[in-house]
Structure formats: C-alpha cells, structure tokens
Amino acid sequence: MKNLHFKDTFKNFLFDLENFITIYDKHLHVFNYQKLDKLSEKEIDLIIDNKKVIIEGNNLVVKQMTKQELLIEGFILKVEFKYEK
C-alpha cells in the first residue's frame, strides 16, 4: 500500500506550507514565497523555500502582491531556480 502522507497533507491543509509557481500565457502566479529580492521590468528575483527563483521577461509588472502571493504579468521568457549550497 502506498504511503499517503496523512500527517503532511493535514499539516499543509491547516497551515498552507506548500509552495508552487503556476505559469500561464502572460501571467505567473507564485504561492508561499518568502522574500521579494529584486523587482524590475526585465527581472524579478524571489526566495522560495531556501532557493532563489529568477523570473526573466519583458514588461514585467506586479498585478497583485500579498504576504503570501504574487501575481506577475508580462512576457515571461525564463524561470530559473538556484539552489543555495
């Protein structure tokens, strides 16, 4: 029988621990980010769960920004993950 990770699922259900990035046509949605490092028209840097996420594109603008979520609009060219050693 497969391990269903009840404990982790329940914890996540209660505290929203999981983070994810969803990429749409002209939008990018980030859930559970820790820090917004850099913000410019061409690049947005984020820290998510001890890894750096670099979003590169053109005409990048923030549509919505809360403590947990970030909604970016623009032409997204690249999403890069950098793991800290």
Binding site: L36, K38, L39, E41, V61, V62, Q64, M65, T66, K67
Partner: protein, 380 residues
C-alpha cells in the same frame, strides 16, 4: 476583529518597482495596482494604508476612495444630524401610532365603567400607554370576563386610530329571568298541535287541536272549580303542524362558474376599507382568497390568491328548472327551522312557465316548536 475595509490609495512616485519593493518589505497587501504619470494607485486594506503612512514618510499618500465599513462610517459622520433626526422621527411615529390617547367605554352603567377602567389599568391599558398586540388583548378580555362573570356578559376591545374603544354588555342577572312568578306558554304561529310535553302548569290545548297565533297553550294559573289555586311559571314543549305557501321562480338560463386551475398571487394594501393592488392582475375573471400578512390599525398588507374562473351559460330543461325550484323552496323553509324541526309535506299548487322562467307555488307543511314563554305582568 481586523478592519477589512478596502481603500484605493494614491502614492506620488514615478519609481514603480522601487515603491513596490518597499511596500513588500513592510508587508503591505496590494490587491490591485494602477499607474499614471506621477502617481501609483493601489487597492489595499485600511490597516495597510495606516502602515504605509507610518513607514513611508517621504511619500505623499492619500486615500482616493473607500469601500466597506469605513465608507459607511464616513457617510454616517457626514450625515449624522440627518440620520439622528430620521431615527427620532421614526421612533416618535412608532410611539404615537402605538399609544392610547383616549379610552372610550361604551356603557351607561357607571359601576361597570369604573370596574373596567380599574381592570384595564391593571393590564396597562390606559391613556398614554402603549397599545397591546391582538393576541394579548384577547387574553386580557378573557381574563376580565372570567374575573367578572357576574357583572360582564360580553366584552370587546378595539383600536380606532389613537382611541381605544371598549364595547361591553352587562350581565342581566339570571335570577331576574327565573323570578317570573306567572307566565304562560303561547302559540307563536297558527297550526295544529302534534305533540305536547308539559313540565309545569296546566295544558289548555290537546293534541290535534287547531290553534291561532297568541293562543295560550299551557297556562301558569292552576285552577280548581274556576278558582285560581296557585300561580306558576308554565313550562313545556309544544310541537305543531305549520302551513306555508312558498313562491319561487327559476330562470331557464343560468350562469355556471368554473375554475380553470390557474392561480396567481398578488399583494394588496388596505387603508381605511380602500383596497389597492400592488401588482397588475394577470387573470381576467377571478375569485380571490385573501390572507392577512401584516396589520396595524387601519393599515393592512394582504396576500391575494387570484383563482381564474370562466363563466358559462347553461340552459336548463323544464324538468331541471322544476326540480331546482322545488329544491329552492325547500331550502327557503329549512332556513327557518331549528334542529328537531322538519318538513312533513310538500305539494305544488301552481306551475306556470313563460319563455325564460318557471314559477312555482308550493304548499309546505312543517313540524315546528310553536310554544313560547310569555310573562303575565301584574295588573293585566
């Protein structure tokens, strides 16, 4: 509880990305952003607006528009005098509308009037007191009637605007009725006696005797050898045959009302017996069932169930019209009869018909209680 009112905030800055980074650092929730030449408009919570004002001192920050509770508070502050005066007016109107300004007790008996004023006061129903609900009034009336069985026969309390009207019927002591010393049972109609049950007194008529209206049937004077030995109040039941001539006419053409089964609901307002429909009626010929939803003095709101009907014309055959006329005549007589009274004989005396109507004249014999108590007044 956190104030979740949302505001649009205008921040003077042309450095869009710099400003957003700063907002992010101080933990501001930005729900929507708009940008013009030198200003950035952000939609955020009122709590966050206060944080921006606190931490971004060098920026010019201004609220453009508000939503939610904060907006209502602002409007309330602006129109505070108007709102308070409206509230006071409504409260005053409610109080005046529900207050008793005058109590009218409709009786000539001062003793009963005093008694009722005292009783109603004890239930909080006097001048400058609030009116009570209909169900409470019913309970009060019942309690007063129970407490004063010997003084009050019937009591009704109703409100006409600001006036409380108390209709009362005093109790006539039953002892007075029973105290008749001399009374007779007399015939109320002409007829033939069918049965006679004597409880007290002397029977002056026998079964199968013909009597006229006003004849004494049972006398309260007990005589022996033409000398009155005792005087009592006569009592008994006398049933007799009574004869009637009844004329009825029935037209051959009659209107029949049929329900189509189509029902529509409407609301109506009733003010001082004038009825106004709120919506336009959606059925042409209708019958209405009215249910009361709200009532305050002469003002009523009613739910009206409109049942669509079709009126058809029906032509009766001569036989059908004849039977209908017989039934009508019978019903006419039955309306006058009491529980143990009945129709004994029914005969058609005359039957005439013209183009549109049938005319019947009937002779009907009934069995009825023809005896009635009559008090013999002294000196008569």
């Amino acid at each position: 509880m956190k104030n979740k009112s949302i505001v649009w905030v205008k921040i003077k800055s042309d450095k869009y990305y710099n400003l957003l980074l700063k907002l992010n650092k101080i933990g501001i929730n930005v729900l929507e952003i708009k940008k013009d030449k030198n200003n950035i408009l952000i939609k955020t919570y009122y709590e966050d607006y206060k944080r921006i004002k606190k931490y971004l001192i060098s920026y010019k920050v201004k609220i453009v528009s508000k939503t939610g509770l904060i907006k209502y508070i602002e409007v309330a502050k602006k129109y505070i005098v108007f709102i308070i005066s409206i509230i006071i007016s409504i409260v005053l109107l409610f109080i005046i509308n529900n207050m008793i300004f005058k109590v009218e007790i409709k009786t000539d008996n001062k003793k009963v009037e005093k008694l009722l004023i005292k009783e109603l006061k004890s239930y909080g129903l006097s001048t400058l007191k609030l009116k009570k609900r209909h169900d409470k009034i019913e309970v009060i009336v019942k309690e007063i009637l129970d407490n004063h069985k010997n003084e009050i026969e019937w009591l009704e309390i109703k409100f006409d605007g600001l006036i409380m009207i108390v209709n009362v019927t005093e109790k006539i002591s039953k002892k007075e009725e029973d105290n008749y010393e001399n009374c007779n049972i007399v015939a109320t109609k002409d007829g033939k006696i069918l049965s006679l049950n004597l409880y007290r007194g002397v029977a002056l008529k026998e079964i199968n005797d013909y009597v006229l209206k006003g004849d004494i049937l049972i006398s309260g004077s007990i005589t022996h050898n033409e000398e009155v030995k005792d005087i009592v109040c006569a009592s008994g039941e006398v049933y007799g045959e009574v004869w009637y001539k009844v004329k009825v006419e029935v037209p051959f053409e009659e209107t029949i009302t049929k329900y189509t089964g189509k029902n529509r609901y409407n609301l109506s307002i009733k003010v001082n017996d004038n009825i106004y429909s709120i919506f336009r009626s959606r059925v042409n010929d209708k019958e209405e069932d009215v249910t009361n939803l709200y009532k305050l003095n002469d003002f009523e709101i009613n739910l009206v169930k409109e049942k669509e009907i079709i009126k058809d014309k029906n032509i009766l055959s001569e036989e059908e019209a004849y039977n209908k006329a017989l039934k009508l005549a019978e019903e006419k007589i039955l309306l006058m009869l009491q529980k143990e009274e009945e129709i004994l004989v029914k005969k058609v005396l005359k039957n005439t018909t013209n183009n549109s109507t049938i005319y019947l004249e009937l002779f009907i014999v009934t069995k009825e209680n023809i005896g009635e108590l009559q008090v013999v007044k002294e000196g008569l």
